[in-house]
Amino acid sequence: MSLSDVGNFAIIVAFAFAIFSVVTSLLGVQRRDPRMMAMGERGTVAVFLLVTLAMFTLWAQLLADNFQNHYVAGHSNRDLSLTFKIGTLWAGQEGSLLLWTWVLTGFSAIAVLTHRKRHNRLLPYAIGVLMTTGAFFLYLNNFRTNPFEGLVGITAKGAEIPWAPQDGRGLNPLLQHWAMVIHPPILYIGYIGFVVPFAFCLAALYTRQLGSAWVQMVRRWTLVAWIFLSCGILLGGKWAYMELGWGGYWAWDPVENASLLPWLAGTAFLHSIIVQEKRGMLKVWNVTLICLTFLLSIFGTFMTRSGVVSSVHAFAQSNVGWPFGIFILSFLGISTWLIISRLPDLRSESRLDSMVSRESGFLFNNLLLLAATMTVLIGTVFPMISEMVTGRNVSVGQAYFNKVEIPLGLALLALTGIGPLLAYRKTSNASLRRNFFVPVTGLLVAAPILFATVTHEFWPLLSLTLCVFVTLTILQEFHKGARARVHRHSENHLQAIMNLTRRNNRRYGGYIVHFGIVLIFLGATGQAFTREVKGTLGEGDDMSVGPYRLHVDSMTERENANYWAGRLDVTVYKGDRVVTKMQPEKRYYFASEQPSSEVSIHRQLSEDIYVVHAGYNEDQTKAVVQAYVNPLVQWVWIGGVVLILGTFLCLLPPVHRRRINAEVGS
């Protein structure tokens, strides 16, 4: 009896319980039998506990260097540090999918525990959806990508016996980075978080309970998923920037797109549920968007896990391709059918009164986000589709994405500024003049100044101008709100801003998120001004990049149990002043027999200096050095932090509306 047997046992019993939960929940709700529904609820929790057991079993094997397990042997090695051994659990296909299942069942268990007390009719159906998804992933864990398979050796007599190599193959050096240890779990929590809103949405559609109840139930879930997804995307970018050594953080790579797609659809959903709550409109949008978000999350996992991105042939070879395809298509079919058959129940409660209203602002925001989602999706899957249809693989490349997504992104940025200034239902001309005077003046002043001092290029100029415009609208909202409170409650301005933000946390949290987005756009615009040079440098050689001069002081070597490293000591000068000292490294990892470049980055708010040791020349006396100056990159990460803080603010519970309650009641 080995640890692998414990793991195998846990996932097979979990698989059985997942199916059990689907059956009892759905039967129970049909027959109105609380006992069966309770069993479905308990089954869901049991599945989570069993998958947890499997997770800890795999961790135990990783930490104990149990190389008889093929996953441990294939991804870990003895000298790997403790942190990386823990992170190795999601370094490969089998482990990643087990993590997927764990997070999914964890969310399901939390959903059950938070909603079960209320005898909620939606919950049993939601459990049905959640555990169907759980059973699907447990099927993969058990029969397609089992992380507990053992290695066997064949004896001279031809019998198979357990066999373990002396040491594992080691973790891919590119993954040996702190961001890569936490990036997959965070991204997965983001992806999978959307499964709960999706499950409640299908339940609401099925039972025709399409008022605000399900929307209110899933709002928090969606926000939590959205935080993690945003965080995961940013960490992925951060990792690419610090580890991959090509000077950027976003390349419209299919794997990156896979995480952006559900983010775009989820963002649209978060906006349009506000309109359903306030005005009972856009109901069809909401159900469509959440189904789309969930399907794109699964699709993202499918793309990254089946290898279909590199070629259609990989799809046929991969052992998860077909199951994923079938799963996505069935859920696509079910959602489409439910939405179409429930269209009469999804009628709007109010009409759109005016083009210049908050509602239409939300509508156009949704349209733009959806257009972005669709164009990114088409660009991402185009190689596969073209290969299937014409037999020739045609990819669209970064030029396509930049051409399409930059205008759409900037239109969205503009709407971020315009939308919140409009009133619900209709906005009078007088109020338009009043509210847009300051931001538009700011825009008109900023544009020529930026044109004269920063850049003549159209898109960067537009982007920076819009950043100014949106920032002004946000500041104006804070100022006007605070002024209203100062009048009414006789508070000082600072107090007023604090109370304002707390009492209207959803609105003002949203503004802070918007400001985070502005900062991210600012940082991304910096990419237009990147400078790069490449040179072969020996000790004492110089190279210039932008306003900086790099001087190689010395070339040294060092070695530890994990890798050998060749290091450059570089001093960076601006004029005669020393800006910083940098140490880019070229490493060679023993276990995996792979080289890796350790980038050295000097962070500044205005611009990063980014130096890569790209290898040696033929006679090994000089180093190939790649240097970049990346303006404003840090603002992307700062914007990310602001965005996350803003979303936390949106998650705070509402403050009671005692005053109005009393007023209407009297």
Binding site: F17, A484, N504
Partner: protein, 134 residues
């Protein structure tokens, strides 16, 4: 060997816990409550309407609406809220939703398994015969 034993014991334990609800007798005519009831729906709508009024006040204070629009919209919201509050009161007094509740189909009101009398939405005990409900 001992691991085998532990695993079997674990399975039995989990299965017992999951199947535990079966030991209770089945309650015939059991109904859902909370958000699904007329009362739950009305309460939710009241909350939303109060929130809308609060937002409207706020937007007016910030100068996004004209005086006239504001008065008109606020009156409309207030009327709607009052109507909902009246319906809630009627519901609490009589135990049946007033006919003006138009928000979705109303479930057939539930019956007590012991005596067959009709039950208020979130009753714990039957008001007619006193038998405890789920």
């Amino acid at each position: 060997m001992s691991t085998n034993f532990v695993l079997v014991a674990l399975t039995i334990l989990t299965a017992t816990w999951v199947l535990w609800p079966l030991r209770q007798r089945r309650i015939m005519g059991w109904e859902f409550s909370s958000e699904d009831t007329p009362l739950g729906r009305l309460t939710l709508r009241k909350e939303v309407l109060l929130g809308n009024i609060s937002d409207l006040d706020f937007e007016f204070a910030m100068g996004k609406l004209g005086e006239e629009d504001y008065r008109e919209m606020r009156e409309a919201l207030k009327r709607q809220t009052l109507k909902i509050m009246e319906q809630i009161e009627v519901l609490l007094e009589t135990g049946t939703p007033s006919p003006s509740d138009t928000d979705g189909p109303v479930n057939a009101s539930s019956k007590c398994a012991g005596c067959g009398g009709s039950l208020p939405a979130d009753a714990r005990f039957c008001p007619h015969c006193g038998s405890p409900l789920q």
